[in-house]
Amino acid sequence: MLIQLLTNKYPGMRLWLSQRLSALMMAAYILLLVLLLAIYQPASYSDWHKFVAPIWFRLVTFVFFISLFMHAWLGVSDVFKDYIFNLKLRAYLQAIVDILLVTYLIWASFILWNI
C-alpha cells in the first residue's frame, strides 16, 4: 500500500505523506537513541565506539539520515513552492539543495561505515 501511495498516482498525497512518514521515522529513531543512551550510558571513547559499532545500529542510523534528508528536501521544496515563483530560479535553487543533501547523505554514510 505504502509503495502505491508513494507512486505517481497521488502526487500531492505522496509528498504530504512522505513528509509525515519521514518525521515518524526520525521520531522513532530519536526515542530509540534516548532509550539506548539511558541504558548503556557511554562515557569514554571506547564506550561510544562499542555503542555505535554494531551493524544494525549503523543501518538504523543510516535510515534515520535518509529520513532526515528526505524530510529536509520536502520541507525546502515546500518553501520554494510557496515563495519562489520564477520557475527557472526555483529549479536552480532546488538543484543546489538536491546536490547538498545528496552530498550530506554520502558524507553521513562515509562516517557511519568508517567507525
Binding site: M1, K9, Y10, P11, M13, W16, K81, D82
Partner: protein, 249 residues
Amino acid sequence: MANQVKFSIYRYNPDTDKKPYMQDYDIALRDEDHMLLDALIRIKEHDETLSMRKSCREGVCGSDAMNINGKNGLACITKLSDLEQPIVLRPMPGLPVIRDLVVDMTQFFEHYNSVKPYLVNNDPLPETERLQSPEDRAKLDGLYECILCGACTTSCPSFWWNPDKFVGPAGLLQANRFIMDSRDQATEERLENLEDPYRLYRCHNIMNCVEVCPKKLNPNAAIANIKDLKIERARETKTVKKEISIKAI
C-alpha cells in the same frame, strides 16, 4: 450622548489616486451605534466617497468582511467596544482592491466553483426530497454554515503566495461539505480534483482560518478530514484491486 471614535481607513480610488493611503476620521457616534458597521455608516454620512460592501447587517450575508485592526472579520458583528483606537480598517488582504474596502473576489469564487459546490446525484429525482438519516445530516454541521465572506481564505498565507493554485480554506471547507454529504455520488471525483500538490496540500496548518472565521467554523479540520479520506480511499482502491486479482486467480 456623543461618543468620539478615531478611525484610520484605507482609501484607494484607482481613477483618481496614484497609490493607496490611510485616511483618519474622528467621528461622533450615537448611543445606538454599537457595531463597527454602524460606525462605518455614520462615517459615510460625513464622507459619502468611502466605499464598502454591506447588506444584511447581521453576520449572514458575509458582504462586509474586512481587515479590522489587523484581523479579518465582519464589520456588522464586531462590537466597537472590543476594538482598540484608532480602529484601523483595510480591505481583506490577498485580493485586488476595486476601491477603498471593496475587493475583487473573482479568484475566491473561481476556487469555490472549482470544487463543484452542489450535489452530484445521478439517481432519478424522487417525488419529494432526498432523505438523510439524522446521523448523516449531523456530518454536515460545521460545514454548511459557511457564508463565503472570504475572511479565512484572505488571511491564509498559502493563498497569498499561490492565489491561482491553492483553493483556500473556504473552498476546501465547501469541498468537504459535499464529500461528507451522504446524498452526493461524486466523492471519488471530488477527492481526485484535489490531488495536485497545490490545490489542497499547500495548507500548512497555521490555522489563521480558524482564528478569523466569523461563524466559528474550522476549515483546518475540514482540510485534515479530506487528507484522511484521500488516504482511506487510496487504501480501499488497493484492497479492491487485490480482491479482484485473487478472484481472477
